[in-house]
């Protein structure tokens, strides 16, 4: 372990503070999914991902990460800043004019850490597959990680990609689904049920694991375990249970905070629950 679980939880607490302050600062953005995935991002970038300090688009000889559900950009931006990709003061520019921190992630403004635009849903798995194919051609054994929303899996392109990856034995690909059961219009079970994602992905030929995405110990262990499963001819699908809004009591367990910013009073209530551990931006 590069960090203790307590240290990782402290990082996560600061990232959660950043998230609510960022969406409050521009009065827009997506706090719910961002908060739900904060522990995953912390575990990935500070414990699991083998990544270089200097960002290069090609990412030769290092692990890559692709965020398919680009709307949870606040958690990614804060994580990238704390991981040293850019100065955390830039988080204050989120969603504002002339910022590199666009509403949805993009390479267009040359923000270090981002390798493809995402936001229009369902495209990230295909892109990650392409990056994994190139790593294979280059003889580069590094891993390719992704994150997808569960509602996002309603997009058909995911299933084209899900069929492709096992057939081509892309066994250095570790895809995580943020399994929070919520999407903009309500619970996924009400909007369009995903039914058993485990059975679906297994039927497509993936090795499926289940993790608790809001338990730091569990998610760190889960991602390390996922790495041990690679190299066996099957891509890995991590079904990660999370609570939308995790860490802020009044945002938890509901789709209502998918894409809504807190007001001043709500911000204060959120920050009171999230200790400042690394200093606010």
């Amino acid at each position: 372990m590069k960090h203790t679980i307590k240290e990782l939880e402290d990082i996560a607490s600061q990232i959660r503070r950043d998230i609510v302050r960022m969406v409050h600062g521009c009065q827009s953005g997506h706090p719910g999914g961002s908060l739900g995935c904060t522990d995953f991002f912390t575990a990935l970038y500070f414990e699991v991902l083998n990544h270089k300090k200097e960002f290069t688009m090609d990412g030769i000889g290092e692990d890559l990460f692709f965020l398919s559900n680009g709307h949870i950009s606040p958690v990614w931006y804060s994580t990238l800043a704390h991981a040293g990709y850019f100065d955390k003061s830039e988080l204050a520019t989120f969603r504002k004019l002339d910022s590199r921190l666009q509403g949805h992630p993009t390479t267009h403004e040359h923000l270090p850490g981002v390798r493809v635009a995402s936001g229009s849903l369902g495209q990230g798995m295909s892109v990650a597959i392409g990056a994994a194919l190139t790593k294979r051609l280059n003889g580069d054994n590094s891993y390719v990680f992704t994150l997808h929303g569960d509602g996002e899996l309603q997009e058909g392109q995911n299933w084209e990609a899900a069929m492709f990856a096992p057939f081509h034995k892309l066994d250095h690909l570790i895809c995580t689904v943020d399994y929070n059961g919520q999407q903009i219009d309500g619970p996924t079970d009400k909007v369009l049920s995903l039914d058993s994602l485990q059975a679906k992905f297994e039927a497509f030929g993936w090795h499926v694991i289940n993790t608790d995405g809001n338990d730091m110990q569990a998610i760190v262990e889960g991602l390390h375990y996922a790495k041990t499963l690679t190299g066996k001819g099957k891509p890995i699908l991590n079904l990660m249970s999370t609570q939308m809004g995790a860490g802020v009591d009044y945002m938890m367990g509901s789709h209502k905070w998918h894409g809504t910013a807190p007001n001043d009073e709500q911000l204060a209530a959120a920050l009171a629950q999230l200790p400042e551990t690394l200093g606010d931006y």
């Binding site: 295909s126 597959i129 392409g130 392109q157």
Partner: protein
């Protein structure tokens, strides 16, 4: 009128296949992907010599575009191959976000464009693809006119850094351009110098423009013929220079007049040099089943239509 002859007819898609094969030999980073149309796209030679650099994606074009975008990360130069309809309209958002907006070095190579796809009919005959692709910021749009030019264009785009749409077709047509030509992206080719009218043609319509030029010469009309193979970026200098001399223009394309080459030329002239213009293009319509020749005749894309358009545009000159 300069004399153009040909000894053989070939399809432009075969020019793509030959160019891809040669680009693959020149640069080991060139990779190819196909969505279950390897034979139609003439990718066999590339696949035979570089099997590990070819990815068969199956009938999943959206996935193919995304994979191609991802393959650029790490230095590959992906060429995707399928019909023009499935290369553009079907995957527009994937191209927009994962390729164009992300500025990925993907070459979207599209065969069977336009009416000359023939008997399969309107579901497969896209006449809107140039418009779709030219509207994407940063996208280069190329529509070569014969086998040799398509091969040269394929080699040129392999060396260009950035997203490109390369449009070609199914039927065999005269091979009349130089086999050793150097293809310069964005640079018009002067087919014939003239003084009475500027005919601007792209793709399969260039040979038809040459046929029209010969008929016009018999009528005493001296036509300047320019091949615009690169619709974006447009060679504005060449067009303005020509129209300044001739005072009028006819644009010719196997594409809807809405959104095509003609509109690009009209936009240029409206702002820089207002001049009479006629459009030889399809008129906001879908195609239908038929032989390529029958379809080009029925939808007004023959040499005779160019001659008529020239006569009309000259009559509009002040």
């Amino acid at each position: 009128m300069k004399k153009y002859t040909y000894t053989e007819k070939k399809d432009t898609r075969s020019g793509f296949g030959a160019g891809l094969h040669e680009a693959g030999k020149k640069n080991e980073n060139v990779v190819a992907l196909c969505a279950d149309l390897v034979g139609s796209l003439k990718m066999d030679a590339f696949i035979k010599d570089f099997p590990e650099r070819f990815t068969q994606v199956g009938i999943a074009e959206a996935n193919m575009i995304g994979i191609a975008a991802g393959m650029t990360i790490g230095g590959k130069i992906p060429f995707t191959g399928t019909f023009a309809n499935f290369s553009t309209g079907r995957v527009y958002d994937q191209i927009r976000q994962s390729v164009a907006y992300s500025n990925k070095n993907v070459k979207i190579c599209a065969s069977h464009a336009g009416l000359t796809l023939g008997e399969d009919g309107a579901t497969h005959q896209i006449l809107e693809d140039i418009g779709l692709m030219k509207m994407l910021p940063g996208m280069v749009v190329i529509n070569p006119c014969d086998y040799n030019q398509t091969k040269a264009a394929t080699l040129a785009i392999a060396e260009y850094e950035g997203p490109v749409y390369l449009r070609f077709g199914r039927p065999v047509i005269p091979v009349f351009t130089d086999p050793d030509q150097k293809f310069e992206i964005g640079k018009a080719w002067m087919v014939n110098e003239g003084t009475d009218v500027t005919i601007i043609a792209t793709g399969h319509m260039v040979w038809k423009a040459i046929e029209a030029g010969e008929k016009l010469a018999e009528l005493g009309i001296d036509a300047e013929i320019i091949n615009i193979h690169t619709i974006k970026p447009l060679d504005e200098e060449a067009i303005l220079k020509s129209v300044k001399k001739t005072g009028c223009v006819v644009t010719c394309e196997e594409h809807n007049k809405f959104g095509g080459l003609g509109e690009s030329v009209a936009r240029l002239l409206t702002t820089e040099l207002p001049s009479p213009q006629e459009f030889v293009a399809t008129n906001d319509t879908f195609g239908e089943s038929g032989t390529p020749d029958q379809l080009m005749a029925k939808y007004g894309l023959d040499a005779v239509n160019i001659v008529e358009a020239v006569q009309k545009v000259i009559s509009r000159k002040k």
